[in-house]
Symmetry: C2
Subunit: 226 residues, 2 copies
DNA sequence: AAGTGGTCTAGACCACGCA
DNA sequence: GCGTGGTCTAGACCACTTC
């Protein structure tokens, strides 16, 4: 009884054994289906999964090749900060440091495509068991917020957004930087300490939603399997 | 003509419109297939994709729910360093700083499950247009290497491995750290500069392959979309 | 026990992208 | 043009999980 996971395993085994070396063209779906005694759809499922993880490269008409210079893919989870803290078994806390309505710096407005418009600016400190965990700098499109605004001292903007604006697209970037004066002060560090920074930009289909910069306390690691 | 992507779009639209609010149970596959006039397999494909990206949560018997506290997923590419440099339009260079056979520190041997065994230790500097790009510290299982060893002054260990050992599993972690003395020297920085660090551990099905730490020059950003 | 999603089949048509 | 992978169908059986 061969399922698609068995087919995938067998294909992987042949690649590892170099029966199908890097760059090689492997047999078509029809041929493999016959060889393994399964339907073509089952082979397709197995090969599609391997293509998604970067092991194979598939193109119509050209066929399926073993990736010569594989770009492996890993999946990252992007949780809400409260969930991340609670998953570590720590108590989550939130402190709103600043709330203002003003024009964002050019770096933010250009990135979101919102020129010369006032936005909501939040600075929030997230705590894990009372200790600083992340300091968040966020710019929000006022059009996505109700009037009056949610109480961001009670619920983080992140959490409010996923519950009320729901399901956006965006991009995310990670870097290492020296902590600025304000960031260091919020996290209780000395200025210039190496900190892990996450920057996210999100859009609804019709309008920009938010730009956010998260500065993590030292020791933070982002990890996953592949 | 409704394909699975159309179904996915329609489901997303209903979630955004809050016809199906966060946490809600949505109709079963059979019901949706009838409503949209497609086969159940088509609905299944659409809902499965949404579950893979964290928008829906599916369990047999329990049904399909809109994620209440969504953990969005992003896919990261893990390219070979040479490809990464060349993708930026820069010339790739490689300098082998050190090659020795010795026992790894406990942090590495424990991580790989290779107690008290000698491993190959490499320190390599990767260059982009002649400038330091990444300094790499790598421990290799000797059993995966041929005798004599490949010339790691000519081909990076990473590149040799993907071409000859091929398709492993592993884990990857990112962090921000102050550059150590040796790392700073290799990259031409002052000690303590904030650097972006990648640590990877990889295994073949039967044995450990390698542990590697990549210290990136300042300004490095890891980014993706979601 | 029963309902739900997960998978498989056999067949079909289609879209893409090489030649 | 034409071969390959991508998708769809209608039906079936199965696995998991809640009841």
């Amino acid at each position: 009884m061969a399922g698609w996971e068995d087919i995938r395993a067998e294909v992987m085994a042949r690649i590892r054994a170099r029966a199908w070396p890097p760059g090689a063209l492997i047999p078509g779906e029809e041929a493999l289906a016959q060889e393994f005694g399964v339907a073509r759809a089952t082979v397709n499922r197995a090969l599609s999964e391997l293509a998604r993880t970067g092991v194979l490269e598939r193109r119509r008409k050209a066929g399926t090749r073993v990736a010569a210079m594989p770009v492996r893919k890993a999946t990252l989870d992007i949780p809400v900060i409260r969930a991340e803290v609670e998953a570590r078994g720590e108590a989550y806390g939130l402190r709103l440091l600043r709330l203002e309505i003003t024009r964002p710096p050019l770096s933010v407005s250009a990135r979101l495509g919102m020129d010369s418009v006032q936005m909501v600016h939040l600075r929030t400190l997230h705590l894990a068991s009372g200790r600083p965990f992340v300091v968040e700098d966020r710019w929000l499109n006022r059009k996505v917020l109700p009037d009056p605004m949610p109480d961001f001292a009670e619920i983080s903007a992140n959490e409010w957004l996923v519950a009320h604006v729901a399901f956006t697209t965006g991009d995310i970037a990670f870097s290492a930087e020296p902590a600025s004066g304000a960031e260091a002060e919020a996290l209780g560090l000395t200025e210039g300490t190496a900190v892990f920074v996450t920057e996210r930009c999100t859009w609804a289909p019709d309008q920009p939603i938010t730009w956010v910069r998260l500065v993590h306390a030292p020791g933070y690691r982002l990890s996953t399997v592949f």
